[in-house]
Symmetry: C2
């Protein structure tokens, strides 16, 4: 589909939506100076005389991004402008996803960038409560722009000297918040919490059975690992990938609050042994995905110590709380872990992706993963090659995920992270107290949230008036999906829902965006009630 929107339209759009972001310095003159409709990517650098065009093109990109940032953080703008897949595929108002054989002009590309953002979801909006990763940190964003412009790879010091050192420094900082001494602690940033959890099992397996690297799982006894019923599905997924098999992941029962029951862990270990399995690994969760529960780390560590098992803590979601003096006691015992997953892209608000696997035993990552490819890791280099950390990784090429976190840490200091995390948990407490006092809402569990997750049902009047029982459950199960469908179509806020074990569909509200205020919490509840009247 051909599209003909000109720069003036684009500028108008920027003006309408960008509010005070629009370029007040003679935008018309600028746009007149650059008729992007006659310019193509081949006119940009490295083309001769490409400097000016490049500058103006990237300036226009910045204007579009500034306008988007402004809208993302403006409560009067929508969180999303929902369209069904077939609508977007057919092409909306000239927005075509199809790929051409011939080049499009730069004007068209600018329109495409604008449209891509327009039809997306504003995950930085203060009323976006849908995922654990929310918010749009301006410094983190700047860090990501710098990273992408540097366009390098984490495999060697040779081509990423500064970023390699920053990773080292950030990891040490994280170790210190965990409570590890300077003599212990290693780690690496990797693409997401699932990969970090996968690393932990890989390392544990190698630690106990180093022959697995060459000989494979068939050379090992039948293994068993343990994780709670509320833990993340990545533990099972990793066991499948690693050739351990998902059925050898033993699911340990939780209490009503979603915390692993230590006695259940102990009896599960004993039962597995009776069946001839060899337990080697326990995953404890610090901040479960749905309830935000913290497993009792010290009690689990005691069991692991007694049974000689690797203790991993999946603190992908809860790790950020280590930076808060008010909340860090919820992770007491984490220093006893053999490995830890911690995703700064969740509670610390770092742009996606930013996830670390921390390992207590030094050198293990390298031993477990290294293959010493000579084209990359030449031993006869002229600098200290211990900084060529690429062979610690499963990946070969590895994206630079550390700089945005480093820059944010500079910008906020540890104390800035602390106050932003405290603020998110205050929002959760505020929501909890509001829900507790109302009859048209019901908490999924009664105790105060430990993390920023608040789980609840909305009870529209027709449900409220039904007697407890399977019929009411069936009705209640449909409330959240129906409200969510309308919510997405109206697009002014967004919250997730799910069933869990015997519980029918309920809402899960999470706070990780420092832009969110109490008024947004109030707005969310009002909106759920309003939409609930229509279902």
């Amino acid at each position: 589909m051909e599209i003909k929107q000109d720069v003036n339209q684009l500028m108008n759009w920027s003006k309408q939506d960008g509010g005070s972001f629009e370029n007040t310095e003679e935008p018309d003159r600028q746009s007149a100076a650059n008729d992007f409709s006659t310019i193509h990517s081949k006119d940009l650098l490295p083309a001769e005389n490409g400097k000016e065009v490049t500058k103006h093109f990237l300036q226009e990109i910045l204007n579009i991004l500034l306008s988007y940032i402004n809208k993302s953080l403006n409560r009067n703008s929508k969180v999303l402008d929902f369209h069904h897949p077939h609508q977007l595929k057919e092409g909306l108002e000239g927005f075509s996803l199809e790929l051409p054989d011939q080049p499009d002009n730069l004007e068209q590309l600018l329109v495409d960038c604008r449209d891509t953002l327009k039809y997306g979801v504003k995950t930085g909006h203060p009323r976006f409560f849908n995922q654990l990763s929310t918010g749009l940190d301006i410094v983190g964003l700047a860090g990501e722009w710098v990273t992408s412009t540097a366009n390098t790879n984490m495999f060697t010091y040779e081509i990423a000297p500064v970023f390699i050192l920053m990773e080292d420094i950030i990891l040490k900082k994280m170790h210190s918040f965990v409570g590890w001494s300077e003599k212990e602690g290693d780690g690496i940033f990797c693409p997401g919490g699932t990969m970090s959890n996968l690393y932990s099992i890989l390392l544990a397996r190698y630690h106990f059975f180093p022959e697995v690297k060459t000989a494979g799982m068939r050379a090992l006894p039948p293994l068993a690992l343990f994780t709670s019923a509320h833990s993340h599905y990545s533990i099972k997924k990793s066991a499948a990938v690693l050739g351990i098999g998902s059925e050898n992941v033993i699911v340990v029962k939780c209490d009503e609050r979603g915390k692993m029951i230590p006695e259940e862990l102990e009896s599960s270990i004993r039962r597995a042994e009776t069946k001839g399995l060899v337990p080697f690994y326990v995953n404890a969760t610090a901040g479960t995905t749905v309830y935000g529960a913290f497993d009792p780390l010290n009690e689990i560590a005691d069991i692991c110590a007694r049974c000689g098992l690797w203790m991993h803590v999946d603190a992908a979601w809860g790790g950020g709380l280590l930076l808060s003096r008010r909340h860090r006691m919820k992770l007491q015992g984490i220093d006893r872990a053999s490995s830890i997953t911690w995703n700064p892209h969740k509670m610390m608000g770092v742009p996606l992706q930013c996830s670390a696997i921390l390992v207590r035993k030094k050198g293990l990552l390298q031993e477990c993963n290294q293959l010493c490819a000579e084209y990359l890791f030449q031993p006869d280099k002229h600098y200290d090659v211990s900084y060529d950390t690429g062979d610690k990784s499963i990946q070969c090429g590895r994206h630079v995920d550390v700089f945005k976190l480093w820059l944010m840490w500079k910008a906020k200091g540890s104390e800035g992270f602390e106050s932003q995390i405290n603020h998110c948990l205050e929002n959760a407490e505020y929501l909890y107290h509001k829900l507790k006092s109302r009859t048209d809402f019901q908490l999924v569990f009664q105790s105060k949230p430990e993390h920023s997750n608040v789980c609840f049902w909305h009870l529209p009047s027709h449900v409220r008036n039904m007697p407890a029982g399977p019929e009411r459950d069936r009705e209640l199960h449909m409330v959240a999906p129906k409200i969510k469908a309308k919510m997405m179509e109206e697009g002014v806020t967004m919250i997730g829902y799910q069933p869990l074990q015997d519980k029918v569909n309920f809402f899960r509200c999470v706070f990780s965006n420092p832009a969110t205020q109490r008024e947004d919490v109030d707005f969310l509840l009002d909106e759920i009630v309003r939409l609930g009247r229509e279902v």
Copy 2:
């Protein structure tokens, strides 16, 4: 270490280095209006009245990036400004990597961004020949800035509607270049070629032995997989990770040119069977890492068909050639593969990372990896949930790697990629002919390069005058590392070296940056000769 550099210094630096990039519209007035030394990240959005500060801060970031881009593409600027790890760690001219408890001001952050780029390596420089991924595509870069600002995740259509559809469209386009019919073809973008290769083995294993997902490798017969001696180390690494064991990766001999010998593959398969192993997977390489060799795909496909094996093609490096009518015959037979790795971040010049695993059999990725986590993949959503592709992935959160490629495809059209790839291979041919005609260089193999890799020794006079034999080899082995060390310290160009099997250290020049011209090739050789005189 405390740093006090003010905005004026920063602006001066921009002026000096940015050339025509600097903001000609009253930069002094602008800088006067923003004394970043008194402003902190808490003054940026979402702070009240944060819009203007945000705009000016990000504008300053853009200015720094424009200056860097200009330098990256300027032959008169250095490729790198080398410092040893301990020098950077100690802090250079006020550039401290240490993390504070208290916030730094925005001026300091801008200086940090500038310094991070200053002490890094300009991978987009036309004289950077060090890796397979080089160049700095302006449209791709713009795409990455848009992606990071959108800051979302690929797991569901719900939160990444446009990007999910773009992935679908780009994958179909790639399938069509492979030669797959519309009825076949699936795939996913994942973090790098190693991960893509890992997926291929995971899928092959699941295809033949679906019970592995739940029961693990111990429920399977002893497996064997095959890859050439010149293939990438990720095949062995993946076998270790997946619990197959690296010693069950059978290394198949190559010819002098680095291509797998089909008869050797056949006899390796037979030998493995005799030992009681069960062959299931062959990795053929289209564009090896060092030599750039293409395995004979059709002959390997015949063997795989005959023996009932999964054929994977690692075209991480060579896949781009499918877009060139002149060069695509080098990948003849690729349509017969069961799976393909193709990294647009290599030969197509897309910013890091951008790697795809393409799978011929539809639905297999989903079956192999899905765990149906209900908090993410609710079946009772109001849209077509077949677009919730997140459960195809090993990862849970998955970075958006597709948009920059989509935008570049719009900008160049298929034909734009074609001419840029042809240009890179012409540079290789030019270098090859130059080397062939000289006595102070020696090609590692005599035939014309198939890809853009050119492998050669430099023979300084003292080596040239030595008789062939182990003593000359020992001397020659030290030439490349010595030249490379000096090269990095001078910083005007950069090329990689490695030994390979019985070959002592040689240089590998690769071309993937469309900015590189013949004059840069000439410069590289002159520079090697000049530095070689000093060793």
